[in-house]
């Protein structure tokens, strides 16, 4: 597995000290943290795949799981966190220069090799764009390997859209389309209105030679997958990245399994055919 940094004689639960070099406020309750390992040599050797995640620790509070939200081609580690529980609330109190802990990367990540030579349809809702952003930027940085890229991104309101500065950059990239949608009509909103599955039905992306990569809140995934299937996407070409409560990230603590697969170790990226086999209920 690429990017597995733990050797057999190091403590696998021990976080590495990391400095926050920048914090971006994405929405009222989502912040993106830009991180740098204090041990430069370790940082240089740290590699990961789009879709992999890390255990982020706020010392004295605990750990929480976040995907790395930017591409390994971009050289900085970024994590985006919505203010929700104990750890994320503490994260939102952090400042640039503060030290936090990081261990990882964990999980399988997106099958970037298998996606080569395919049209890619990215479907995301809310902060579900975070793992996809990593892959989108990765694909754009390796543009020749992939065919058309269509991005369908939704949020409750325009204020809840994350990584706003990047939409324009993506749009300008060759062979790349970006569709934005919000749940309800808003003043001054020029893009689409309606939930993500509805927007998809309007956009009618091609399914031939395409792979759909879906991430968002469970309810969005639940309604998006049938739409994709109806459009002709086969279960193998619908990829999603799952979120479940995780603690260890190592396939040991036992809570994040679906069937005999641990999301942290064997996932978080699964195709829909596999999920069906594992009795995963949308």
């Amino acid at each position: 597995m690429t990017g597995q940094m733990n050797t057999s004689n190091s403590n696998i639960y021990l976080p590495r000290e990391t400095e926050i070099t920048a914090i971006r406020q994405e929405t009222s309750d989502i912040k993106t943290f830009v991180l740098k390992f204090k041990d430069a040599a370790y940082g240089d050797a740290f590699t990961y795949r789009p879709g992999q995640f890390v255990e982020f620790s706020v010392f004295g509070e605990g750990e929480a799981t976040f995907c790395i939200s930017n591409s390994p081609t971009r050289k900085t580690i970024e994590c985006s966190a919505k203010k929700m529980g104990m750890v994320t609330q503490a994260m939102h109190e952090l400042n640039v220069g503060d030290t936090v802990g990081l261990r990882g990367p964990y999980g399988n990540g997106f099958p970037v090799e298998d996606l080569k030579g395919k049209h890619l349809l990215f479907v995301s809702g809310g902060i579900g764009l975070a793992p996809l952003r990593s892959l989108i930027n990765y694909c754009l940085d390796n543009r020749d390997d992939y065919l058309d890229i269509t991005i369908v991104n939704g949020a409750r309101t325009s204020k809840d859209l994350v990584y706003r500065d990047e939409y324009k950059v993506w749009e300008k990239a060759p062979g790349t389309k970006v569709h934005l949608t919000v749940d309800c009509r808003e003043e001054d909103w020029v893009c689409m209105v309606g939930v993500v599955p509805k927007a998809l039905e309007e956009i009618k992306p091609t399914c031939n030679g395409s792979v759909a990569i879906v991430c968002g809140p469970p309810i969005m995934i639940r309604f998006t997958i049938p739409v994709l299937e109806k459009m002709g996407f086969c279960p193998e070409s619908i990829i999603t990245t799952l979120e479940m409560k995780m603690k260890c990230g190592l396939g040991k603590c036992g809570r994040c399994n679906i069937g005999n697969h641990y999301i942290c170790k064997d996932g978080p990226v699964f195709n829909y055919a596999k999920l069906k086999e594992l009795h995963y209920e949308l």
């Binding site: 605990g62 529980g85 104990m86 609330q89």
Partner: protein
């Protein structure tokens, strides 16, 4: 006696007066019993009643909101139901309480010295024929263990509880088996703030066991399930009984005796003890 229980259960289910009857059935080992959840009149014959019917079935009643439930209730179980009704956790009209009288030492060791063998609340009371009715346990003996402990030196008591709590593995069986432990988020599971250590250290275990007991002050009906469930044998009832004794001595309050009574700590009296206050 069992025939009467089955008959009543059958009648209730057949007439759709209840959706389910919770009682006891024989377990696979052929000796002990397990809780039975019967939802069809045909299945009532699997119900049993004997000295192995230890479980406090009141613990399950909150799991079926909106359903009409018939429940087989011993004296202690019925008192637990009373407390749950007092605390608005159950709807009386959704319950059909099949009270069963149990002998004093019949059920298990947890029942020694139990003075209340008859349901405090029930819709029908099924008595055992030919037995002297409701021979009460000796109430004096009920606090023998507590009094013995009270008589010891403070350091000895602390040492004893430390020793007992040191075995605690925090499996929370005591909490889960207790009909009164129904907090949606137990303090032991809270993280913001985390009230006490999750570690099975002296502090963590001491805090957990003391908190559990005190939260049952004036609510524990002494069904003894916590102590029975504890895999490491912590004498939890000695904690509960002390609180029961205090409630009785200070406020003449007995948990589970009346649905109408205000809970111990939700009421007060102008003449409550005050000597300990400066």
């Amino acid at each position: 006696m069992i025939e009467e229980i089955r008959q009543k259960a059958k009648e209730l289910l057949a007439a759709s007066k209840v959706d389910m009857v919770i009682g006891y059935r024989r377990s696979g080992d052929g000796v002990s019993t397990v809780p039975a959840f019967i939802d069809s009149a045909q299945d009532v014959d699997s119900l049993v009643w004997d000295q192995n019917c230890v479980y406090n079935l009141a613990n399950y009643l909150r799991e079926f909101p909106g359903k009409k439930i018939g429940v087989v209730a011993k004296g202690c179980d019925a008192r637990a139901i009373v407390v749950l009704l007092q605390e608005n956790q159950l709807e009386r009209e959704n319950l059909f309480i099949i009270g069963v009288e149990c002998g004093v030492t019949d059920i298990s060791e947890k029942c020694a010295a139990c003075p209340r063998t008859v349901s405090a609340i029930c819709d029908i009371l099924i008595k055992e024929k030919g037995r002297k009715s409701g021979a009460p346990g000796n109430e004096k003996d009920a606090y023998a263990a507590v009094e013995a402990l009270e008589a010891r030196r403070a350091e000895e008591r602390l040492g004893l509880w430390r020793e007992e709590f040191s075995r605690c593995i925090r499996c929370y069986a005591c909490r889960q088996v207790c009909p009164m432990c129904y907090c949606p988020k137990c303090v032991a599971d809270q993280t913001m703030p985390a009230w006490f250590s999750k570690a099975t250290s002296l502090e963590g275990n001491f805090a957990w066991n003391v908190t559990r007991a005190f939260h049952l002050a004036g609510r524990c009906v002494d069904c003894g399930e916590c102590e029975r469930a504890c895999p490491v044998g912590i004498p939890l009832r000695d904690l509960n009984k002390k609180l029961e004794k205090e409630a009785k001595e200070l406020y003449k309050y007995e948990a589970g005796s009346s649905v109408e009574a205000k809970p111990l700590f939700a009421s007060y009296d102008k003449d409550d003890p005050k000597d300990f206050i400066k």
